[in-house]
Structure formats: C-alpha cells, structure tokens
C-alpha cells in the first residue's frame, strides 16, 4: 500500500536527519526513510533546499594556504624540548578521552615552557646543506652563538651574543634562506595562553 501521510513524530525524526542527508553520511536505511518522506512533505523539501545552500557555502574552500612542514618542524622542536626535560610522554590533563586519570601529570602545549640549556634564547633548525662557514656567518649576522646542538633532529640551542634583543636576532635569522625554523624560548606565562 502506498503511503500518503506521515505522523508528526516521523516528520520531526526525518527533519533531524536532513543535515546528514545533505552531507551524504546517513545509513542506507535512513536515507531511504528520508527519501520516502521527502516525496510527501513539502516543508522538508524546502528545508532540504535551504540546508543544501548552507552546506554549499560552508563546504567552499576557504582559500587559506597552510604550510604543514613549518608546523611539523615546530612540533618536532617541542617534543625535543620536552624530551630534554624528560616530560614528552607526560599525560595531558584532558584533551584525550582515554579514560585514564589525569593525576598530577602535565600537559604541555605551545604555550608551555620546557627546560632549556642555560642561556638559550632561540632554538633553530638549519638546512642540511648549510656549511659550517655559512652557519657561522649567519650566526654572526644575528649576533648569536651556539650553546648546544645539533640534536638528533638537527636542533641548535642559541644564545645571544651582543644582540639588542631576541626579536631582533630572530628577524635576522629568519631572513636567511638556510634557516628552516627559528623560535624564541618563551615562558608560557609570557604568551597569555597557558592551560
């Protein structure tokens, strides 16, 4: 028998599923239910058209280019820093939902300071092709000196050497093509975004 009516409960139930009908993530059974209801319900067809328009706008590419390698280098550096401090595997407080108690473990984020070698102002990674003389030249240019490194990941810890400021040295460093990554060693409290 062909269905010609629907109940209010069915109407509400189907209405709640429309966003996932639009994004194509309903089960086959639910999709068939929605299909059947749409044939009978003009309100839902109109709502579906409206949701399609919102979906189209929201799924349009934002056009923002991101550079994953730069972020990955920063992540590697943070892990290096944390492992230097022996805390890279400390449990986060809450971001993971593993069920494990957080206890007194620390959760380090970009805004969390890690232990650094004495006098370290900047951590940097250089292109693997950089020669020693080129490295010395650009460090002189940025008024920096090597405190330690490179680590296994190629990270140098740098201290200021007659530099007017860390920012000034960072700008000088970042002006060189051979500098893959350079970051100030900043305490978490300075960023205003601590946990």
């Amino acid at each position: 028998m062909k269905q010609t009516e629907y109940t209010a409960a069915e109407h509400q139930d189907i209405g709640e599923l429309l966003p996932w009908f639009v994004n194509g993530r309903l089960s086959d059974a639910d999709r068939q239910r929605v299909d059947s209801h749409l044939r009978l319900c003009e309100v839902c067809r109109d709502e579906l058209a409206a949701q399609h328009r919102i979906y189209r706008e929201m799924s349009a590419d934002a056009g923002v280019e991101h550079m994953p390698m730069a972020g990955l280098n920063r992540l590697r550096l943070r892990i290096e820093n944390l492992e230097d401090a022996g805390t890279a595997r400390a449990a986060p407080e809450e971001a993971s939902r593993s069920g494990a108690p957080a206890g007194s473990a620390n959760y380090y984020t970009v805004t969390t300071a890690a232990a650094q070698p004495a006098n370290t102002a900047i951590r940097a990674v250089f292109a693997p092709t950089v020669t020693l003389s080129e490295l010395q030249e650009l460090l002189d240019d940025a008024h920096l000196k090597i405190v330690s490194g490179p680590t296994e990941a190629g990270v140098y810890s740098l201290a200021m050497s007659a530099s007017p400021s860390v920012d000034w040295s960072l700008r000088r460093l970042r002006g060189h093509e051979t500098v893959r990554f350079a970051e100030s060693v900043v305490p978490a409290s300075a960023t205003g975004q601590g946990q």
């Binding site: 209405g15 706008e57 929201m58 991101h66 994953p68 730069a70 449990a91 939902r97 380090y108 975004q193």
Partner: protein, 193 residues
C-alpha cells in the same frame, strides 16, 4: 553526495598510531601530514587566525604523541584525533571569547529580501554562524565542513547522539532566523510545527 574527505583506511591509521605509541617519530610525521589539511580547513573556519589554527593542530599532535599508548581502538583513529582537536579548539575559543564573532546583530544590515547572490549568501552564512553558541557552530562545521556522520560527531564531541541532533536543530533554527532569505521555508513556519 559524497563525504567531503577521503576516509583514511582504518588499518593504516591504526598502524601509524601504534608506531607512534612505540616512539616512532616518522609515524607521527605521517599522521601529522595526513591530517594537517583536514584539520586546518576545519579550524580555519572557526578560528581564522593562522597562528591559532597552527597552535591547535600542534597541540593536538603533541597530545597524540603523548597519549597514543592509551588508544584502545574503540573508535576510528580519525575520530579520536579530531576529537582531541575539537576539545583543544573549544578550550581556545572559550578562552578567547568572541574570537570568531562578528559584529552585534543590530549592527548588521537589514535582512536581504531578494534572491541572494553567492557572495551575499556567503556573508550572511558567515555572520549567522558567528552568532551561534560554540557547540552548535562546531556541530554544524563537523557535519557540513568535515562531512562527519551523526555517530562520529557524537564520538568527537563526547556527547549523546540526541545532543548532537539537538545542537544541530538549534543551530538550524538560529540560522533560519538570521537568514530569512535562505530560501523555501518562511521564517514563521517551523519545520517542527
């Protein structure tokens, strides 16, 4: 209609995560690079500042590195990772209240009453979204921007399926009120009347 993102094979993700749990940084690199574009796309829409997006992604994978051993396979790896990003983003958005909010509603132009051009509709949608409560906005983004199913959003947000549907319902209702010319349904005609 297809889901917006290619589903990374579960096996491959699980293998990588298991290697991460053993301390394999190359596996972490692979996961990071595999998810960066997807997460950046999601996060850029809710926190347009480039630095914030990169920080949330970075924080997410630091947690992945630290917590990989505790993943038990109860959900897909992708859902687990996006769930971590969701919680970090939520925390960041709450800390920076108003980060993605547009101007006050009464500062907006009068509702458009003619059929909209794409750019105008895009602006209205963006402003309508910016006025939604964070959880409702994120639910909508997870469905429409990320292409997640109801069940996946429930896992990512650690919420019951009913809550996901309710957040979506309220988000749609609020959008309808701020987007009267969206098409089809009269503002006074509720879908659930």
């Amino acid at each position: 209609m297809q889901a917006r993102f290619r589903q990374i094979p579960k096996r491959q993700d699980e293998d990588l995560l298991r290697d991460v749990a053993r301390g394999d940084r190359r596996a972490l690199d692979a996961l990071y690079l595999g998810y960066h574009r997807r997460l950046a796309r999601f996060l850029t829409r809710i926190a347009p500042q480039y630095e914030t997006v990169e920080e949330v992604i970075n924080d997410t994978f630091l947690v992945v590195w630290q917590r990989a051993k505790e993943f038990r396979g109860a959900s897909r790896v992708s859902t687990w990772i996006i769930g971590i990003a969701y919680r970090i983003a939520l925390k960041s958005l709450r800390r920076n209240d108003g980060l993605v909010r547009a101007q006050r509603y009464d500062a907006l132009p009068e509702p458009w009453v003619e059929p909209m051009k794409d750019a105008e509709l895009r602006d209205w949608v963006a402003q309508g979204l910016s006025r939604l409560p964070i959880e409702q906005r994120l639910t909508l983004e997870l469905a429409y921007n990320m292409g997640h199913s109801i069940e996946e959003i429930a896992e990512i947000t650690d919420s019951p399926v009913g809550t996901v549907k309710a957040r979506m319902f309220h988000a749609r209702e609020k959008l309808r009120q701020s987007l009267p010319a969206l098409g089809g349904v009269d503002a006074s005609d509720s879908l659930w009347n």
